[in-house]
């Protein structure tokens, strides 16, 4: 926070010399305040990981002095951390693959075939949007852990997550596929391509951006999920969010360690999600706007 406060001044000076509107100064100052409030807690966690518990207790609001790496190396040498990361990755990958494959398959006839039940079937997906996993969480837990014997497995989490992500996926993908020009399909038919051939050779390559968008949304959802893994996964099958939550309660006295663990859990995901920011935003907008 203190860094943000000091860096306002140079920004003000440069802007004043450039622009004729005095309002710019205010805009930049306000922007910096927003940035400081947004990033402050995250940066505090990152920096806190470089401090010792004694430093944190003595002066909670200070910078690391000296910088210690032991918290971070401790987490990186902790096999549990890597195990959680592996579980999170595998579950997210499984979820994403199922969602994208099943989603594009379902969206294709709903977008480009003419048949009587097209709209009723699409309505099934739209209605699916209304049911969050929370509503069915208790029977879902019983179904997966008892009836299907998939408790404490990657598939046990990935399958229901995919089911609950599919409605959104189909709702986003269908208009995307509908927007592909009809001429393409006609041209392919004239060349003797079947509808399945059109799907494989033309539609799939062209719908890459749409599939990336829904894939990223499914991956983010799975990576960040907490409730379903909380009920279904124990011990070394736990995912990173469960690991972070448990680490913070088990080592509540070791604040610096908690910060280091949390930071390492968020950094790879943060980089990936921010790189995919455009996809996430366009996906959300696609789903939001009607």
């Amino acid at each position: 926070m203190s860094t943000a406060a000091t860096s306002i001044k140079p920004a003000m000076k440069t802007k004043k010399s450039q622009g004729k509107y005095g309002g710019n100064v205010l805009v930049y100052a306000l922007s910096l305040a927003v940035v400081a409030l947004t990033l402050g807690p995250v940066l505090y966690g990152v920096l806190g990981g470089f401090r010792t518990n004694a430093q944190l207790a003595q002066a909670p609001a200070a910078l690391p002095e000296p910088w210690v790496l032991s918290n971070y190396t401790g987490v990186l040498n902790n096999p549990e951390f890597w195990r959680y990361a592996l579980n999170s990755t595998m579950i997210a990958v499984l979820t994403t693959v199922i969602v994208v494959v099943f989603g594009i398959m379902a969206a294709y006839p709903l977008a480009r075939y003419q048949f009587r039940l097209r709209e009723p079937i699409f309505m099934v997906f739209v209605l699916g949007l209304l049911f969050p996993a929370t509503v069915a969480i208790v029977p879902l837990f019983i179904l997966i852990s008892r009836d299907l014997n998939l408790g404490n497995t990657w598939w046990g989490v990935a399958l229901p997550q995919a089911a609950f992500a599919l409605p959104m996926t189909v709702v986003i993908l269908r208009p995307f596929l509908m927007a592909l020009p009809q001429e393409l399909e006609e041209a392919a038919q004239l060349d003797g391509t079947s509808r399945i051939g059109f799907f494989w050779r033309i539609l799939l390559p062209l719908s890459g951006p749409g599939m990336v968008t829904v894939g990223v949304l499914a991956f983010v959802g799975s990576w960040n999920a907490y409730l379903l893994p909380l009920l279904l996964l124990q011990g070394e099958m736990r995912t990173l969010p469960l690991g972070v939550a448990d680490f913070s309660t088990e080592h509540s006295a070791d604040t610096a360690g908690v910060f280091a663990f949390t930071t390492l859990a968020m950094i790879p995901a943060l980089i990936f999600f921010l790189a995919m920011q455009r996809r996430i935003v366009s996906g959300l907008q696609g789903a939001v706007k009607g």
Partner: protein, 346 residues
């Protein structure tokens, strides 16, 4: 993509056989082949129907298995007194619902959900709008600022919750330390430990987490406002503030309303952040419907009661969603028939 959605909505046929919806796969084949236009191409039609079946079945099966079956089960469990073992024999009718609705912890939880819904919208709407207008100016660092604003949203609620839990520690947390320097003393039990403050504290953390989404969606809506309108208004001598009030915000209406809907649905399902920050405490002052049903189901093994609570949660969500559609989203266009169909799609 937006365009696409609009086209879809406009071309939806007015009515579809609802009975057919119950057995989609069989009837898809029958209807298709009976359709008069294609009578002459029966083999091709059969092939087409098989294709449709092949493409649509996996997704529908997955949804039936993991969404439909559990939801039906929830309704079934809700009328039995069931502790999770043995057959479902102890039929109790609506007694579980009565128990849930008479349970003060649940009714308080419902109120907490409603407070979070209202609080989120009341705080995030003006704040998000202000930040979006701020960032909508042509600035060199605009892209960077947007990315930064989006950071809390892409973090998981658990990670955000754990970090804030540390920041909010009584006395030794960053927030109390900074306040102490300013001569303000934080509450003795901590922000999350004081029943009267805990819910508001959770609300502030949620605001931090989700404001980025509002800003990003509003910004996208702002890009859709044609530049000519601004130019025309400027030529007419309108001030920046007048332009925002008379042009930008009204044109942003649909985006604001749909964001409000998303925010509401999210607040109704609130679980992760509360579970991490307070676990529903202190003294049940932050329980939500979701934390209530999870602790009834997993900690106390009251599956009947938990299921009744989840059915109630769904009904509340449905009522709010339908009324929101009716009273707020309706304004987006004239209430003609195509509009009604469009609403269903959302």
């Amino acid at each position: 993509m937006t365009e696409g959605v609009k086209v879809v909505s406009a071309t939806v046929p007015a009515r579809q056989g609802t009975a057919a919806e119950a057995r989609p796969r069989n009837t898809a084949a029958e209807r298709g082949s009976r359709s008069p236009k294609r009578k002459l191409r029966a083999p091709a039609d059969k092939r087409k129907n098989l294709e449709i079946l092949f493409f649509v079945t996996p997704a529908l099966l997955l949804i039936a298995m993991f969404m439909l079956v559990p939801i039906i089960q929830a309704v079934r469990f809700s009328v039995y007194n069931w502790k999770g073992f043995g057959p479902l024999v102890d039929f109790v009718g609506l007694q579980n619902y009565v128990r849930v609705l008479q349970n003060e912890v649940f009714t308080d939880a419902l109120v907490h959900n409603l407070v979070i819904i209202a609080g989120s919208i009341i705080i995030q709407l003006p704040l998000g709008l202000a930040i979006a207008l701020l960032l909508n100016r042509k600035m060199k660092i605009q892209g960077l600022l947007r990315t930064i604003i989006f950071v809390p949203y892409v973090l998981s609620e658990v990670i955000a919750g754990v970090v804030w839990f540390q920041l909010l520690q009584p006395q030794y947390g960053l927030i109390d330390t900074v306040l102490a320097k300013l001569g303000i003393q934080g509450p003795a039990q901590g922000w999350l430990g004081t029943p009267d403050l805990a819910l508001w504290t959770v609300l502030i953390v949620l605001t931090w987490k989700y404001l980025g989404l509002a800003v990003i969606l509003f910004l996208a809506g702002l890009q859709g406002v044609p530049d000519e309108l601004y130019e025309a208004a400027q030529i007419d001598g309108a001030s920046w503030w007048q332009i925002q009030r008379k042009i930008t915000i009204p044109l942003l209406g649909p985006t604001l309303r749909t964001w409000g809907f998303l925010s509401m649905v999210g607040s109704l399902q609130l679980f992760d952040m509360v579970w991490i920050l307070t676990g529903g405490g202190p003294a049940n002052s932050t329980t939500t419907m979701a934390t209530f049903l999870v602790s009834e189901g997993t900690k106390r093994q009251n599956f009947g009661v938990a299921s009744a609570a989840s059915v109630i949660l769904f009904i509340v969500a449905l009522i709010l969603a339908v009324s929101y559609q009716q009273f707020i989203l309706k304004r987006d266009t004239q209430p003609d028939t195509s509009r009604k169909r469009k609403k269903v799609r959302r």
